[in-house]
Structure formats: C-alpha cells, structure tokens
C-alpha cells in the first residue's frame, strides 16, 4: 500500500507555547467533587455550589457530575485540605449525598482523577504519573476516539502521553492534544466561576380579596417603577418577567412575558403586563400579586450605526420592539411574528415565520424570489374546486422526494366567477384540483 502523501512534520513541530503564568494559577489546587449514584439534578448542584462558595470564591459546575473548587487560597483559613474536606463531608452527609473527592493542580486532571479514585496530588511533578495510570474512559473524549485509540493498542493516558505529539495531533485531533496539555498544566485552563443568578421579586399583598383591575394596574405600575430604579442602579436589564396572582382558595394564576430584547425601562415592562391582565380573566379574586424577573443581564446600550440614522431619527426614542411586546402581551407570543421567504420550490415551504426576532428576515439582495406567485397563500390547499378550462399553460412543481413531502403538481392561474384570480393546482398523482392561493 502506497503511503499517503502528507508533508512530513518534524517531531517538534507542535511546540508548547510557554504561557506567561500568573503566580496564582501556578500554585492553584483544584478539588473535584463527584456525586456518586444517579446524576444530580441541576437545582441540587446549584444549591451545593452555593454552599461551596462559603469555602472558596471559585466554584465551577460540572453539569450532571459535581463541582470543582479552587482551594489553594482557602487552605490556611480552614487549616489545610483536611479542614475543607471535613466541612464538605458534614454538609454532604446532611444533604444525603454520597461523593468522592480528589485534588490536583489543574482542573482537568482533578475532574479526570475523581472519576476513578480519591487521591490528593499536591504538586505538578506527580501529576503526569497520576493521570497516566487512568484508563482512557476517564476523559470526556467521544466514544469513537476512545475506540480508535484502543484499537491502536493504547489503554491508558500514559500511552497517549508517550506518543509523538505531531502524530497524535494529526490522528486524534489537535483538541485532544490541547486537553492533555491542559491536564498537565502546560497550557492555561480558564474556568468560569459559578455565580448564583440574580433576580428581582416583589410581592404585594392586598388588604382584602380583590378583582379590581385598577388596583392591579396601580400596583404593577409601582413595581415596574421600582424595578426600573433598581435595574438602573445596577446597570442591569431583564429578558423575562413572571406575574403571579395568589388566591385564597385556588392555585396561583401565573403568566409569563418574554421581551424581544432585554429591557429595563418602566413602560417596556409595564405595557405588555397591562395588555396581558386585561385579557387574563381571573377565576378567583386575588389576595396578593407578585412580579419576578428572570436572571438579570448586564445593560447594553442600543447604539445606532454611525451612518445609519440621522439625528432627527436618533432623537425619536420609541423602541421598535415596544409595539411587538405590547401586542404579544394581549394576544400571546406566537400570534405576532415577522415573515421571510425561503429558496424552495414547494410553495408552502417557501416562506417562514420569525417569532423570536420579527425583523430577522433576509435583506433584499441578488437572490431573486420566484416570479408569478400569488400575494395570498391558503394555509392549507383546499380541495374540490374544478376549473372550467385552465386558460394558461401550467407550471409544474415537482420536488421533495428526498424528505418525504413529495409533491408533483401542475399550477394554473384561473379567473373565478367574480373576476378573482385564483392559483389552482392539479395533483398529478390523484388528479384532484386544489385551491392554493389568490392573486390579491
């Protein structure tokens, strides 16, 4: 078999760039915590992370597995690693969780080690030996990569570390090599510390049971004003609010408003809410009302392009999505949307809705939409109307055999009895006539 021609790579062609290491990272110590048994649910893990933040400011979530804690800075405070583990185990026992703990100088090594054993590796010198003993299954590498490596006769991470770097990168992928480097601390591994979500919530209790809209409007208006003040002070904005009415004898009535863009202004929060409560139809009088925001997001100013807006237009401060949100407040999100056309032969698939961002459609460009299409399309082709005689030669549309929505139709433009122009087609398989559009 002829060798595949590829440029010969010198053995040292993939050198490790020496990062400028900060002292803190150089002396990091990561404690990995693995929840044994069934994978913990996200809420339980977040709650555990909140506790772990009492031990160190840097806590990283490992979804469905456990946590990573950077504990070097906390060793003195809690009198060594033993003290930290002691506090952790007390809390875990209280929560009824069974866990394994391992420490290593790098986060990746710690999270690989903890899947197999409970060890403490304090310095980088011992790291390569410790993770080298691990089988390939300790990594997060995809199953096919692990299978390929096993077929090549590699069983452990040490086997991988022994291979020439360039060849390993070419056969297995550069990302895997990078992962090995990160695990050994040769490359930086930045982890985002967990932050508990911040939300705003206000509950207002009424003096008596009430169903008075005016009282709701006044209360919501006050809450929206206080939200705006808080959001401005913290330079934050929100994407979603949930309104709940509490009843004495029934489940709370909840309704959620999602904004097209994150908002912080009082009117943007209030107007959709008012449109919504007008239609809500409470079954019971309410004793209290609460408004809760979703997670707060950093405020981003809407800066118009330098050349796109004249001063007069920029001064017009009506946000474009306020109308969308107000209409959605009353009718629901899916009933207010934008449209776009799609390059597709089948007419019913040649358009689409834009729900999330109604103005996301394509710009008018070189791509040309098809000619001779009606301005009205029926949502479903309607059967039964047989034309007297189709006056024009038909347009054959035949497409879609590959995706199971096979169509074979002859489209005709037909003038109806009242002078209206109709877009009919005859299904070539069943020979039946359908009305599909009107030339409005």
């Amino acid at each position: 078999m002829a060798a595949l021609p590829h440029p010969a790579l010198p053995a040292d062609s993939l050198p490790i760039e020496q990062p400028k290491t900060r002292y803190r990272r150089a002396r990091a110590l990561w404690l990995a915590l693995e929840v044994l048994g069934p994978p913990p649910d996200p809420a339980a893990l977040e709650s555990l992370a909140c506790f772990a933040q009492s031990l160190t400011p840097i806590v990283v979530l490992r979804p469905r597995e456990g946590l990573l804690l950077e504990v070097r800075g906390s060793l003195k405070i809690f009198s060594g690693l033993a003290g930290i583990k002691e506090r952790l185990s007390v809390e875990l026992a209280r929560r009824g969780l069974n866990c394994r703990v391992a420490t290593a100088p790098t986060p990746l090594a710690a999270s690989w080690l903890v899947r197999y054993e409970s060890v403490d590796i304090a310095d980088e010198g011992a790291l390569a030996g410790a993770i080298g003993r691990l089988p390939l299954a300790a990594t997060d590498w995809p199953e096919e990569v692990q299978l390929m490596l096993r077929q090549m006769g590699l069983a452990s991470i040490a086997d991988c570390l022994r291979l020439p770097r360039a060849g390993f990168a070419r056969r297995v992928g550069r990302e895997r090599l990078d992962e090995l480097d990160r695990a050994l601390g040769k490359k930086p591994d930045f982890r985002e510390a967990y932050q508990a979500p911040q939300t705003l919530c206000r509950v207002v209790e009424f003096a008596t049971e009430t169903i008075d809209q005016a009282a709701f409007v006044g209360t919501l208006s006050d809450i929206a004003a206080s939200f705006e003040q808080t959001l401005r002070q913290h330079q934050m904005q929100v994407r979603e609010v949930t309104l709940a009415f509490r009843h004495l004898r029934a489940e709370a009535t909840r309704t959620r408003i999602r904004f097209v863009d994150p908002v912080h202004a009082r009117e943007r929060i209030l107007d959709p809410l008012l449109a919504r409560i007008e239609r809500l139809g409470l079954c019971e009088p309410a004793i209290a009302l609460s408004l809760t925001t979703s997670r707060l997001l950093p405020l981003e100013a809407d800066v118009p392009g330098l050349l796109s807006l004249s001063n007069a237009q920029a001064a017009r401060t009506v946000p474009e999505y306020a109308l969308v949100e107000c209409l959605r407040g009353r009718f629901g999100t899916r009933r207010v949307h934008g449209i776009d056309w799609v390059a597709e032969h089948r007419p019913e698939r040649a358009w689409r809705r834009w729900i999330d961002r109604p103005n996301a459609g394509t710009q008018p460009g070189p791509a040309c939409p098809p000619h001779g299409r009606p301005l009205w399309l029926l949502p479903q082709p309607e059967r039964g109307l047989t034309p007297f005689s189709p006056p024009f030669s038909p347009e054959r549309i035949e497409s879609g055999w590959w995706d199971g929505f096979d169509v074979r139709r002859d489209y005709h433009v037909v003038v109806g009895a009242a002078g209206e122009r109709l877009w009919l087609y005859r299904d070539c398989l069943t020979q039946e006539w359908y009305l599909h559009g009107l030339f409005g």
Partner: protein, 224 residues
C-alpha cells in the same frame, strides 16, 4: 400670519374646493392617473383609507404594492413596522419580496377570533358576524405606538366612533392606515380620508377602483 398658515395647514381643518390639499402628506401609488387625482399625489398617509372588497383575489393588495414597497424601504431606515392585522390568509413572502417589499419590516398580528382562527377562514371571503374589538385595539396600538409606518387591517365591523378614533390617531401620528372592509359596510358613515370599492376591471392591472369618498375631490372611477 404664521399663526394663520399654521391653522390652515392643520389636518383637521377642511377647506372647500380642494384648496390647501396639495401639501397633504401622501405616498405615490405607482399609478399615474390615480396620483394626479389624489390630493398630495398619492395614498393619504395621514388618515385612514377604507377599501371595500367583494372577494379576495381581485387585486386588493396589488394596488397597494408599489407604495408599500417604497414605504418598506423607508421603514428600514426609520426602524418602523408595517403591521398587518388579522389578514384573512397567509401574506405570501416570496410574492411580497418579488414586488420589492422589504420583509424585515413586516409584522403580522393574528388576534384570536371567536369560532375560527384568522388563518383558517373561508377562502371565498365568507365573513362571520360580530365586531372585532381585538383587531381594532391592535390597529389603535399600532397607530399610537409611533413605531409603525403603515397598518393594514382586515376589520369586519367597526362603528363610527371606533373609526373616528383611528382617523384622529392616524392623522396625529402620520401612519398610513388601510382598513379592508366587507362591501356591506359601504353604506355606513365614516370619517375616513379615502374610501373606495375594488372591482375586476379592464385595465392593464385588471383592477377597477370606484372612489366613494375622497377629501377635496369628487368621486370617480379608475381603470388600472
């Protein structure tokens, strides 16, 4: 003197003989004969227009397309919407794009209707009885939000008070408001700036327009 000029140009002041109508805000219709006739040289932008349609498919959208295409390009700049409220069928995006409409500014609103969904209505233009408080509310929101350049609405029943509210709002906020109404409503009094009936005709576009009312002009017909 400036005060008098200001008063004379007030949109609510009606002057006989069509005087002072030349500077009515309008957008060219794309049909020369119609542009020469209509005050301001096009569809009136300040105020509502009512179109009475016997059957869908007679060209009720085609007649508006040149103006809509121009307005949609303007609306991209000003970040305004062109709102379609309760359309009887799906406004077909490839056809709109073919007419030069910028689809990014189109916003469709489907208020819930009792009995039937607006998208599932009778293809022959069958209409149910009952007023449209939701559709009228949506039209008013669209006009008063100042973020819509045009509003097209399919409204079955609307009393004079409701139409008057819309007319005043559209004049104040300069929103091109077109109401598509059933032919039965033609006998009803209305404060609209323009009212016309749409019929099949013999012109190049196959459309006949019977103007019933136009501010400052005598009613007449056009073949487009």
């Amino acid at each position: 003197m400036a005060g008098v000029e200001e008063l004379l140009s007030h949109p609510l002041l009606w002057r006989g003989q069509g005087a002072g109508l030349a500077d009515t805000p309008a957008i060219a219709t794309g049909f020369d004969a119609l542009d020469r006739y209509l005050p301001g040289g096009g569809w009136p932008l300040a105020g509502i227009s009512e179109i009475f349609v016997e059957h869908y498919g007679l060209g009720e959208l085609r007649v508006l397309m040149p103006a809509l295409a121009a307005l949609s390009r303007r609306a991209v700049e000003s970040r305004q919407w062109i709102v379609w409220i309760a359309p009887p069928f799906v406004p077909y995006a490839p056809a709109l794009a073919h007419h030069g409409v910028d689809l990014r500014r189109i916003l469709l609103v489907h208020p819930p209707r009792k009995g039937s969904d607006p998208l599932g209505s009778d293809p022959k233009g069958g209409r149910q009885k009952g007023s449209d408080p939701d559709a009228l509310w949506a039209v008013e929101q669209a006009i008063r939000s100042q973020s819509s350049a045009a509003t097209f609405a399919w409204v079955r029943e609307a009393d004079v008070t409701a139409l008057r509210r819309l007319q005043l709002g559209a004049e104040a906020h300069r929103c091109w408001t077109v109401l598509f109404r059933p032919p039965e409503a033609i006998g009803q009094g209305s404060p609209a700036a323009l009212r016309f009936r749409l019929l099949p005709g013999g012109g190049p576009a196959g459309i006949r327009i019977d103007i019933q009312k136009c501010r400052g002009r005598k009613p007449r017909s056009f073949l487009l």
